[in-house]
Symmetry: C2
Subunit: 682 residues, 2 copies
């Protein structure tokens, strides 16, 4: 939704709120300065006008936004009532951040996973693996999670209640912005908000002081401190082997890299994939299904030569336009998501490489198949400050919901971080090899450290500095030399956060030649990582529809795409009469034979009420068996979204539904073939 002046309606409302705030300030100042009444009255009247216009615009904004941004209450009602989701351990008062999937939720999850498997694993011939959740400490120490997988926490100094510092900060800023702020202050806090989850303890502490933030109970807060989000346990009877529940499934792939490469006949590039649970001991889980402590993930690790990140199938997606939200647009004024072709994005280096871009496209297609709307999807590049410790570029696919934009799929170029670190820690080489037909001379960039100078400058850090420089790939080595030549110095940043100034005298990088038969290299990893549970919640919001009020009740339904619908077809006899039993049993059996899940509802509720039930479950097709059916073996077939019905010979139904679910034919084609059936649903 973009207005003529180029501002989105949302931004326009934001601007008007600031205007109201400034005007309010002006009135207060006049009053304080004891201005004449007439002058004050004029300004007050202007303020009233502005407020009225704002109110109108706010209403317009609400009505113009997609349904999913304002469906939370009726949707959560439906989701709980129809048992898509059950709060975990409800009878014991529940545990925050733990949810169970009831029958339709469980089936929906299974269908989304099956689609994920077909769309990614089978389509790309990926190697699917399944590792354990229990992970020994050494693995997660190596990956950096033991030291850095933390959120900043603050404690209410009186009640001891724990909070996530960044969430508290975000909320406080939003509250201040909503109450109205001068434009400068608004923008300053907006920038702070966007970077909230990347602040250091000290920066966070300063922000809390600056804004005078109090706890929800009005008490003071402790200084923010890092809290590790992994669940810790002990493996074995002796208590000496510390283990964690994996915070991501990726490490289980990295540690098996050598075996997987071997299984793949040594061929590169290749991808491995894993569907499985991840665990994060969230400090204060809220936002329903969006921030939970145990969640299903789907992760892909695409291993590739660090200098060859082209993708053979990029041509098939290069013309696709994706809603991109690059880094440099996020902190500026005119935050705008742009639809951009992937070819252009890669050419202009907005996206780092073809492989990363290829996966963004595949993710977009997957989510579209799941029913996520284009308007509520964007690919947001990570800010430098927020990038995970391992990543060299990262794009989140965010989906808009009633909770705002939610990260659902991360696409990180993790470079060689993980494999190099596991190689070092395990002493097992995790490398791929490229064998030449005959030994050949290859160019490389030789690094010659000047150890005395380095030692003098960096003392005990010398070894770390040399190691970091040794790890730089050829291209970057050349780049460093260029910088050294140009400015005399180069700033080396370590993953520990330390920074070192390298001077021209300390190191030399120059092109050289060596004779080799085999090139061994540590592959880079490009990782699309899916939060299946979050995606499911977004699917529910994006497919939520209302038919309006009927009989004093809002008739809502889920417009789930047939391919992921938990149940594909309902079978409803027009009345609870045993004469329908044979036909129903035959239908059910034939549907099962064709792999179509179905649900018979022969309760005595009216047919309309029964359809309302199946609509709430998102069942796309419904068969009604009526008295005519017994005579001529035809039944009606109803499509959920249009509520249109056609009359079809019972024997043809199972294959027809199967083909519509599999996407081999469409409802429109079926309507062309079979006569329409007119009936009232009430």
């Amino acid at each position: 939704m973009t207005l003529e002046n180029g501002l989105s309606l949302k931004d326009e409302v934001q601007r008007m709120r600031a205007e109201v705030a400034t005007q309010g300030e002006r009135v207060r100042k006049l009053k304080k300065d004891g201005a004449v009444k007439a002058a004050i009255d004029t300004e007050v009247s202007t303020l009233s006008d502005l407020k009225a216009k704002l109110q109108q615009k706010e209403k317009q904004l609400e009505e113009s936004t997609p349904l999913y941004t304002r469906c939370r209450e009726p949707l959560e009602n439906l989701v709980k009532r129809r048992l898509f989701v059950i709060p975990g351990f409800e009878i014991y008062g529940g545990v925050a951040g733990l949810f169970d999937f009831g029958p339709p939720g469980c089936a929906l999850k299974a269908e989304v996973e099956a689609l994920w498997r077909r769309h990614f694993v089978l389509h790309e011939d990926m190697l699917e693996v399944s590792g354990t959740c229990l992970t020994p400490e050494v693995v997660l120490k190596t990956s950096g999670h033991v030291d850095r997988f933390t959120d900043l926490m603050v404690k209410d100094t009186v009640t001891g209640e724990c909070y996530r510092a960044d969430k508290i900060l975000e909320e406080q800023i939003e509250a201040k912005q909503k109450a109205g702020l001068p434009p400068d202050e608004h923008d300053r806090l907006e920038k702070l908000k966007v970077q909230a989850d990347a602040l250091s303890s000290e920066e966070m502490h300063q922000a809390f002081l600056d804004l005078g933030i109090k706890s929800p109970d009005g008490n003071g807060f402790s200084t923010p401190f890092p809290f590790n989000l992994m669940f810790k346990t002990s493996i074995g009877p002796k208590g000496d082997l510390v283990g964690y529940l994996r915070p991501e499934t990726a490490q289980g792939i990295f540690v098996n890299f050598r075996r997987l490469l071997e299984f793949n006949g040594g061929k590169m590039p290749f991808a491995a994939a894993q569907l499985g649970l991840g665990f994060r001991n969230e400090i204060a889980p809220r936002s329903g299904l969006l921030r939970v402590r145990e969640f299903q993930m789907g992760e892909i690790e695409h291993f590739v030569h660090p200098d060859h990140k082209e993708h053979p199938k990029f041509g098939a997606v290069k013309d696709m336009k994706l809603p991109l939200f690059p880094r440099d647009r996020q902190l500026g004024d005119g935050k705008v998501v742009m639809d951009m072709t992937l070819e252009h994005a890669v050419q202009t280096k907005v996206i780092n490489n073809e492989t990363l871009a290829y996966f963004l496209a595949r993710t977009y297609l997957f989510l579209t198949k799941c029913g996520i709307q284009h308007v509520g999807m964007r690919f947001r590049q990570h800010l430098e400050t927020e990038m995970a410790h391992y990543a060299c570029d990262c794009w989140d696919c965010e989906i808009e919901t009633s909770y705002g934009w939610v990260e659902c799929v991360g696409h990180a170029d993790r470079s060689a971080y993980d494999l190099s670190h596991h190689t070092k820690a395990s002493k097992v080489d995790l490398v791929a090899q490229h064998k030449f037909d005959a030994p050949r001379d290859i160019e490389y960039v030789k690094f010659t450290p000047n150890r005395p100078k380095l030692g003098q400058a960096f003392k005990q850090d010398q070894a770390a500095v040399i190691e970091a420089l040794e790890e730089k790939p050829d291209q970057e080595r050349l780049h460093i030399q260029q910088q050294l030549d140009a400015s005399g110095t180069y700033e080396l940043k370590l993953c520990t956060g330390q920074s070192f100034t390298i001077t021209k005298e300390m190191a030399k990088f120059e092109k050289a030649v060596k004779r080799v038969a085999v090139e061994a290299y540590v592959p880079a990893v490009i990782e699309p990582s899916f939060g299946i549970g979050r995606i499911i919640y977004c699917i529910l919001e994006h497919t939520f529809r209302s038919r309006g009020i009927q009989d004093q009740e809002e008739r809502c339904f889920l417009s789930l795409p047939p391919v992921i619908a938990p149940i594909k077809c309902s079978v409803l006899p027009i009345s609870a009469n045993t004469q329908f039993d044979d036909l129903i049993n035959q239908l059910k059996e034939q549907l099962t034979y064709h792999g179509v899940s179905s649900q018979v509802d022969s309760t005595s509720a009216s047919i309309g009420r029964r359809y309302a039930r199946t609509d709430e479950l998102g069942i796309p097709f419904g068969i009604t068996v009526d008295f005519q059916s017994v005579k001529d073996s035809t039944v009606t077939l109803r499509e959920r979204d249009s509520m249109k019905q056609i009359r079809v010979p019972a024997i043809e139904i199972p294959e027809l539904v199967h083909n519509m679910v599999a996407g081999r034919t469409t409802w429109d084609k079926a309507r062309d073939k079979y006569p329409e059936f007119i009936a009232q649903e009430a």
Copy 2:
């Protein structure tokens, strides 16, 4: 394998070993007593004869046993080489009891789970749910796991190494038996061995003392003590909410019972099912995949009225003969598994009720579909002493492997244990209701406690005794009264292990009548519980086959049923020539369209070697594209087990393979339809 004298070959070997031991004893005694040489020589000669016969019989036994009992080494070799399984965190030296599934293992697991879902969940319209692994302590305290989910552990007093006491005891007994024991002693120890996992700490301690058991390092052992097998962790940031990783998925269903019943429209009986992970912190995991610390389970909780355990579909399975191994045969001499019809088993109360029997049949059919052989399957009833704390009857489906008989599926009648305890602990009624059309007078058995007498006799235990008596169902109440009338007393056993003698004066049970509109009752639960990982290992052993030695290499393969094979079809060009590419791509695409997973192998290895590879992966069908194919668009289709090939138009292949995988047609029918193709594989 049964000999004419009614003894199985195995028992015969056992008997002969005892004979050799007795004869050896006789020789030693003669020597010790200084008997004349001639007498000694005679007995020594008899001993030699006996030993020779034993050796011969032992060889016969080995050769007559199914392949799976002696395939461990080549199978484990295949399983690791083909990456069905990878030891967890191998590059870090591994963690005992943790395994990952590599690509074929992961696909096999997915197929077994999909079959489980179709065979149980869809076939019986069960409500599938998916709960969390993280479980708050209160739930597992209520279920009894916090207090009683333990194994007895012993520690080497010198090295501190930990062992499972029952496994050590079993091994020591087996070693002694193998070395030869007099029949009486053999039988006494056999009984001890069978009950090893049900001994109390004191009994175990006594057994260790009696047998003089030392640790494998020759040191003493600590006294056995219970070790809780749950992984403990802490949920949330404060550290005050203790949680465990669930040891079974069942509790996640019980706590949701009320919601599930509501979802089911209040209708009873019904079943809920769950596929998910379970965790047990095994003391000393060995036996490869059979005893692991994290494992996939499939559990079904069938809720039923405690007095109506008939099953509507029992008629469909009543004539099936299952290999039953009831309790009373396990401790006696002639341990024999009997094939018995389920109707007979239920009528004679060998199996407690129809529902339990029905599930045994469904399990048998499921495992048969998975390729488990009848000869290596038995249903063993739990001994009274080994029954889980909650169970009132329990049958394990055990599968024979190279490790012996392995429990793979438990079938427990958990009675109302779980629902009653969760009701008490959560104060939420977990009951089902039966509404009468009109209020009616119903007979029941009224319990009148004599509180003064009970108080006098049991003091502070009075309340527990009354509660226990109140919980008895009507039928048992009548039974108690009969016993009181007959003998004057009744022995009341509590689940705590305490026992109380109730006398005639203390309690009265009599038939009475009350007027009710609704009958509320706590349902009983019948639970089939599947260890998916164990079943997968058993499938691998049971489908392992050898074609004998070819080119100095044993050609082994997995005869996996097509329905669960990880990949359904291979596509092999006769040579690495680009002219085959089009046809191969078309085949691959059409196979995918028909939902058939496939693998193209266009490496330069010989066709025979490539088939050997696909055989090791258990791929049931193989398509070969040759030069003729390019001319007439026909290809050959090979079946793995028979290695026979037929010539089929390429366009008909995908549907043909799909139908064979789905069980809609067979290889034999395909052979009738298409001409045979004769070719050498080498």
